[in-house]
Structures are given as structure tokens and as C-alpha cells.
Amino acid sequence: MSMMKKNYVVETIRKAQMVEMLANGKRMDGRAPDEHRPIKIQTGIIQKANGSALVTLGNTEVIAGVKIATGTPFADTPDKGLLVVNAEILPLASAYAEPGPPSEDAIELARVVDRGIRESEMVDLTKLCLIEGKSVYTVFVDVNIMNVDGNLFDAMSYAVVSALRTAKMKKYVVEDDKPKATEEEIPVPVERIPVSVTMARIGDALVVDPMSEEEAAMDMRITITTDDDGNICASQKGEASTISPEKVLEAVDLSIRIGKEIREKILEATS
């Protein structure tokens, strides 16, 4: 990500150092190549939101907030509720972030996380339908990036999943062909736990959960989201570099293995 300014001299030396260390299976901060940083998940931090989560992944910090209302469905999916995932990289999050319309990086970030949540069928959107073609629940998940230290993809994904898993919404009933709010609070119909695992290729090595320093030196990035059954439901390659087909399959297996570990953590923090 272009969140870290590239300084060619320092970057080149750092990268050479990293490649050398990785040949012995070591990373700058002492982690193993397949080791993610400590994950902390705190839910229910914003009372005015239907659901919320603060996730820290090392020094990367993000807040997700869920707001739920009712609205009209899209014409091509009249029996499905709306789920919209968005991200903003705040100017307070990094010296290299700027206020203004969303950058290319922020758009990619939000779309890749959205894809993982949507394609895994985490939320059963058909259960969010009130009156077909007329009224459905609308679920907006907005994410504020608070501090950037690499791997915004995974931090954001864990925050969105945790916020959705703990969100409560007003139950609506249909009276006279109109949706009517009740006092009852119900959970969002979540079925699955998609887990995003992002890896950086630095030289020949794949490292899980790259921090900023590693992102500045990496050749390319690959994010793979898997579901509870170890199926692959979303992926995205990033950066102007290449990966061999064999390495892609290695990344797939790594994401399935690490994803399982992280799913347990999310489950523990949100149930």
C-alpha cells in the first residue's frame, strides 16, 4: 500500500535485510513467517451504533460501526436486504493519509473486505427482506481506520465481522403492507465467519500479516478469505509485481490454516 512513503535507498537496504532474515525463517519483529501479530477485539464500544468493534492488529487500529434501518431493495434483488461495507482511511491514521474523497487504496480496501463478507454469505440477506420489492433492512458497516501499521485488509475484515456478529437491530413487523418497528431487538442473521488472511511476498518468502515496514519492502500482496468449511470465497492480488502459480496455491493453503486459528479468536471475542 502506498500508505508508507517509499524511500528508495532505505527501502532497498531494508528489503535486502528482510530477504536475508527470511532465508532463516525470521522477521524484523521476531515473528515467524506464518505468524500474525496479536489480535485484540473489543465489541460494543459505540452505544449509538447497532453494533461496533475496535480491532487492533499489532499497531494497526480500526473501528467498525453498524447502522441498520429499512429501505427499498435493489431492483435486481427484490427479496434481499442491503449490506454495504465502506472504509475511510482517516487523516489522523497516518502521516501519509489525506482528507478528501476516498483514495484508490481506500476503495480497494473496502471492496475487497466487502467481497469476503458478501461472497461467504456471512449474512443471510434473504432474512433481511420485509416486503419483497418494497421494504428490506439496510445494513451499513462503516469502518474508520484509526492507525496504520500495515495489513488494513485483515484488521478491517475482523472488525466488520465482529461488529456484525454482535449487532442488534429493531424487529419490524408487516402491518397493512407496511413495515412497522417494534420494541423487540433481534440479532443480525449471521451464518458464517469469513476470515481474511493477507500475505506479502518478499523475495521468495510469503509472510502473514505484514506490518507497514514489510509492506514498504514487499514485492506483492495477496489477500485470501476462507469460510468455516475451508472454502475460498474471495481473493485479491495487489501491487505491481508478480507471483508464480505455485506460490498462489501455497498462499491458499496458508490462508486456510491461519484462517482457522483466527476464526477461533473471533468466535471467542464475539459469543
Binding site: C233, K237, P245
Partner: protein
């Protein structure tokens, strides 16, 4: 939910009559635009896409200059009339993301170090869209780069595979993309055997993932043969450089 209609018939054929691993008809032509330094046009299924390259040229604004290499700019843009319902001509979030991954798919093939302090601009205009428009756009853009005479490590070629009716199939069209359960666009540098674009959505078992991924690479190589043919036609004419005809002349 209404029952999904079947996209693969009992005879194993798809709605447009293709087998599971068959490509749609593809046509390419290089060097159609007069002003561009390089250009290419592709028809792939119902996709009609023009790609143009300008550069290497001076960088504006100047603060974007890269001291050691060329700046590669790409824009993937869909014409308002390219889809069923008029599309707002302003770039959508989807187009912005595709422009980014397109740049990241093409740039590894460009020897950017050969052109420091310059910009190489790649404009992709989708005149009519069908499934797989981003890989078709990348395939055409790579030809336009070659046509512009820019130093390349390899061509870049793409193909999308996915899952339809629970089966892995090659080269999804519009309907299969919308109603199927997964789409996986892949771009490769065929001679160097590297992947430069990979995006996945849908639900794939580990086996299905590998099958779709390897199929996309295999089909990409088929499209690569057509790319070479289109370049040969541009630079050596219709007669092609077939050695047999030269032998006959002797």
C-alpha cells in the same frame, strides 16, 4: 428465493452452446487509432473494447515524476451505452478498483526502468461490456503497449474462470457471471509463467479453486496465441511470416 435457472444443460453444454472449457469467439486487431502511440481493439464474446497507449511522455503534474522509472497510468472506463441501463459516465468505485488492478497487472511486464521520469498512459474504453471485460481490457492493453514499441518483458494476457451450476467453467459470459456462483479473473505473463492479476469471488473448495485457477492460466495461453497472431498481422501483414510460403518463393 426463486429457483435459479440452469445454466448448463443436460447435454453438458452451456446456454450459448459452449462446452465447459471453451472460450467465446475472440477477435483482436492492433493499431487502429491514428493519434495514439499504440492501440488495440478486442472483441471477446459481446465485449467490444478499445485500448490506447500514449507515451513515454512528460509527466504532469511534475511532482508525480519517478526518478528511476516510468509512471504507469491506467484507466478502465465503461461507456454509458456499454451496459443494459445507461451507466453514469463518472468513474464508479468498481471502475476505480479495476483501473488499479489493471495497472498492477500490466506494470510488471513493462520495463519501466528504461523510461525514467516519463509517463506511460494506458486508456481502456469498454464500448460494450460482457463477462470478463477486465481481462479482455488487459489483453488489449498489453497489445497496445507492444504496438507503441514500449519495452516489455512479456505480453500480459487474461482469462476469467468461475463456477456455474456447481461446476468449474472457463470464460464466463455476462449471464454466467451474474447468475453463477463465482468469478475468478486471472492475468499472466505467459512466457515467464507469472500471475499478475488474481481476483476471486464466489465459494470454491480447495480443489475447485485449483482447477479454476489452472484452467484460467491454460485458457490464457490460448488467448496469447491469438495476441501473437494479431501482432504478426500488424507488423508483417496478412501474408504472415509463415516459413512455408518463403520456401515456396525460393
Amino acid at each position: 428465493m426463486e429457483p435459479k435457472r440452469k445454466l448448463i444443460g443436460d447435454d453438458g453444454l452451456r446456454q450459448d452452446g459452449r462446452t465447459w472449457d471453451q472460450l467465446r469467439p475472440i477477435k483482436m486487431e492492433v493499431g487502429l487509432l491514428k493519434n495514439a502511440d499504440g492501440s488495440a481493439y478486442i472483441e471477446w464474446g459481446k465485449n467490444k473494447i478499445m485500448a490506447a497507449v500514449y507515451g513515454p511522455k512528460e509527466v504532469h503534474p511534475k511532482h508525480q515524476v519517478l526518478p528511476d522509472r516510468a509512471l504507469v497510468r491506467t484507466r478502465y472506463h465503461m461507456a454509458p451505452f456499454s451496459v443494459d441501463e445507461r451507466k453514469n459516465p463518472a468513474p464508479s468505485r468498481r471502475e476505480i478498483e479495476i483501473s488499479k488492478v489493471t495497472r498492477e497487472a500490466l506494470e510488471p511486464a513493462v520495463i519501466v526502468e528504461d523510461y525514467p521520469r516519463t509517463a506511460i498512459e494506458v486508456w481502456i474504453e469498454v464500448l460494450q461490456s460482457d463477462g470478463g471485460s477486465r481481462v479482455a481490457g488487459i489483453t488489449a492493453a498489453s497489445l497496445a503497449l507492444a504496438d507503441a514499441g514500449i519495452n516489455l518483458r512479456d505480453l500480459v494476457v487474461g482469462c476469467s474462470c468461475g463456477i456455474v451450476d456447481g461446476k468449474v467453467v472457463a470464460d464466463l459470459d455476462d449471464t454466467e457471471d451474474k447468475e453463477g456462483s463465482g468469478d475468478m479473473p486471472v492475468a499472466i505473463m505467459p512466457n515467464l509463467n507469472y500471475v499478475t492479476l488474481l481476483q476471486v469471488d464466489g465459494i470454491y473448495s480447495r480443489e475447485q479453486f485449483q482447477k479454476a485457477f489452472e484452467l484460467a492460466i491454460e485458457k490464457g495461453r490460448e488467448v496469447y496465441a491469438m495476441q501473437r497472431e494479431a501482432l504478426t498481422k500488424k507488423f508483417f501483414g496478412d501474408g504472415q511470416v509463415s516459413t512455408s510460403s518463403e520456401e515456396e518463393a525460393e
